[in-house]
């Protein structure tokens, strides 16, 4: 009896098939089935993978026709079926080739079922609106509506941080990170780890969100010598490296691997390099590190031997600067565990 439901695809009588689709979703609503059950039913009835994107709840669900959950958000260019009354929420079928005769009906009935199963108010929370505003896949109408509801106009700044101690109530989460929106381009507290980016038009906040993520990846942990709060606008050419090179690629670079090896037994290595690269003289670097400058000389002598190049001069200095930058790219997302949708 497997594939019984799949028989819909080959039933000749179109009117009967349409009725079965309608009945199927109506019964799921009557039974108060789960949202995932509605998406699975769409997939099973259509014989194609079905997905639900709910920007307000930062939720993506994808299921194959046999009910297997797929992870990842690779949605491709499928036609979006909006869920009525749920801004930032839509369904799709991952149909390759020609549309099935019932695809449009299945999507429409599934969307209505989700609308009917929605809990209480279908208006997103502030947190949901923040996510919609930052979601590159949301429709412009939904984004415009969310921007208005949040009271944003003119320049706005996105902050990605590990801390929620920010001067705004427009706060949400993505994975384990806090996303905050601030009107204008305010200065941020220094005792948090954060990346920020500013958009002159709130409708461009999805781009600013990605830029803030780049800045966050390069920001150092709180309590060290390197800045823990970075503005994308200050990064310039440095941003290109974080945007184009993944954490895995950076971690595989020989100079980065060498830093990681040395750090295992010598936790001061990256901080020392930062001070040397940051200050114009060794004396000032030693002061920054609270070290006697002869101690710093000894460390640098040892470090040059270990690295195979001198981080204080000319080409070696450039090499060390890029190695430290890539090291931050490699480790900038260590704490950013993005929850897999279930």
């Amino acid at each position: 009896m497997r594939d019984l439901i799949g028989k819909l695809e080959v039933v000749d009588d179109d009117a009967a098939s349409a009725l079965r689709v309608i009945d199927h979703f109506d019964r799921l609503v009557d039974e108060r089935a789960s949202i995932a059950a509605v998406v699975r039913a769409a997939a099973a009835l259509a014989g194609a993978t079905a997905g639900l994107h709910d920007a307000a709840r930062a939720l993506v669900r994808r299921f194959t026709p046999d009910g297997r959950a797929l992870t990842g958000e690779k949605e491709g260019e499928w036609r979006h079926e909006p869920v009525p009354g749920h801004p930032g929420s839509w369904l799709w079928l991952e149909r390759t080739g020609e549309d099935g005769p019932l695809d449009a009906l299945i999507l429409e009935r599934a969307a209505r079922a989700l609308q009917a199963l929605g809990t209480g108010s279908s208006q997103p929370s502030t947190s949901g609106l923040v996510r919609i505003v930052c979601d590159p896949d949301a429709t412009e109408a939904d984004r415009r509506d969310a921007v208005a509801r949040l009271g944003l106009s003119g320049t706005a700044t996105v902050v990605l941080s590990t801390s929620a101690h920010l001067p705004t109530t427009l706060i949400s989460t993505v994975g384990t990170l806090v996303v905050a929106l601030l009107p204008g381009a305010p200065s941020l507290p220094e005792d948090i780890r954060a990346g920020s980016a500013t958009a002159t038009d709130p409708l461009r906040l999805p781009i600013a969100f990605e830029q803030a993520r780049t800045a966050f990846r390069l920001a150092a942990d709180v309590g060290g010598l390197a800045p823990s709060v970075l503005r994308y606008e200050d990064l310039g050419a440095l941003a290109v490296i974080a945007e184009r090179i993944s954490a895995e690629e950076a971690a595989a670079v020989g100079d980065v691997r060498r830093l990681d090896e040395l750090l295992a037994a010598h936790p001061w290595v990256v901080e020392t390099l930062h001070a040397v690269l940051d200050q114009p003289s060794l004396r000032q670097s030693a002061a920054m590190l609270h070290l006697h400058h002869s101690t710093l000389q000894e460390r640098l002598g040892w470090l040059s031997g270990q690295l195979g190049y001198s981080p204080t001069k000319g080409r070696g200095r450039q090499r060390a600067a890029v190695a430290v930058l890539l090291w931050r790219v490699a480790h900038g997302t260590d704490h950013e565990v993005v929850a897999e949708p279930h």
């Binding site: 009896m1 594939d3 439901i5 799921l28 039974e31 089935a33 699975r40």
Partner: protein, 334 residues
């Protein structure tokens, strides 16, 4: 017994657990296509089940050439006609493999040797098992003991010809769903009592074990769900006639009646919580355990009879299928 009315057998309809919400739409759709089981409806139902129940598309048993499909006529019980065995073996020869001896479902009155074998097809295609599925005679034309004795005769032939079939005779699992689960359990009892062959596992999937209608669950479905009490009464009466529910039913026909379950093989047994066979399944699992048999028991909340075969995409079905497939994998690995 033929004078007994349904009202006497089923004076009340006790409460049942709700069906899982995700299963309900398909249940309703299936019920619309089903007519109540009756002697008149039987020929049509058998035709429907010829390619799988409810007109399901036939499965490609060769799995694109990975599986060799053959059929053999082998001796039936002494004095009875030959029986047909469907034999599915890996197309690539190899060392002797474990076997799944399969007894199909269909309420004792419908179904054929192809019904349900796809559950084990992946293992054959992967080269890790040989499947033998038996075409037993159906009730009511062939009442008990014809069905279970046909199953046993097929099992004996399979074990005796293990070498030719590429089967490791030490590792034969018997498996079946619904009536096939009851026949698998009955055949396992016969194999134990006749001291041949030795079975390594029995897999009893939502099995039909008890003709007596004494449990709560055997009364709780009245014209709802799948395989309600009336259908079950029809199936058992077809198999046993006037003997149904009386003192003259053998444990090989209704394994719930077996007094001694010691020495039976390692068991996997499952059921839905909202099906007729629930309580006989739970009781059989408990009694097997008390007899010292190692048992894996799974009851799936909200499941009706054969829910995971009818609604494979539902979350509860995914869980049931994954759990069963994992047991099959472990049972067949060396």
């Amino acid at each position: 017994m033929s004078e007994t009315t349904t009202e006497q057998i089923f004076p009340e309809t006790p409460i049942r657990p709700p069906f899982d919400p995700e299963l309900v739409p398909v249940l309703e759709a299936v019920r619309e296509t089903l007519s109540p089981l009756s002697a008149e409806a039987l020929p049509m139902m058998r035709e429907q089940s010829a390619n799988g129940l409810l007109g399901m598309d036939p499965v490609d048993l060769t799995v694109d050439g990975a599986v060799r499909v053959e059929e053999r006529q082998v001796p039936g019980p002494e004095g009875d006609p030959d029986i047909t065995l469907l034999i599915l073996s890996p197309a690539v020869d190899g060392p002797p493999r474990p076997a799944v001896f399969h007894t199909h479902g269909g309420g004792m009155v419908t179904g054929n040797r192809r019904l349900g074998v796809e559950m084990f097809l992946e293992q054959v295609a992967a080269g890790t098992a040989v499947v033998v599925s038996v075409e037993y005679r159906l009730a009511p034309e062939h009442p008990d003991p014809a069905p279970v004795e046909d199953c046993y005769a097929g099992l004996v032939w399979t074990a005796k010809n293990a070498a030719e079939l590429g089967i490791d005779p030490e590792r034969i699992m018997i498996a079946g769903a619904s009536a096939g689960g009851g026949l698998a359990a009955g055949t396992a009892l016969l194999a134990r009592d006749r001291a041949f062959p030795k079975l390594s596992h029995q897999m009893l999937i939502c099995p039909m074990l008890d003709d007596r209608f004494e449990t709560h669950s055997s009364h709780m479905l009245d014209d709802e769900g799948i395989w309600d009490r009336a259908a079950n009464l029809f199936g058992w009466t077809a198999l046993l006639g006037d003997r149904r529910g009386g003192p003259d039913v053998s444990p090989y026909a209704a394994p719930a009646r077996a007094e001694d379950l010691a020495g039976l093989p390692r068991t996997y047994i499952d059921t839905g919580s909202a099906e007729t066979f629930r309580d006989e399944t739970l009781a059989y699992a408990r009694r097997l355990s008390e007899a010292g048999v190692s048992v894996d028991l799974h009851m799936w909340g909200g499941g009706f009879h054969a829910f995971d075969m009818m609604v494979p995409h539902a979350a509860v079905s995914r869980a049931s299928i994954a759990t069963r497939d994992e047991f099959i994998r472990r049972a067949l690995e060396a």
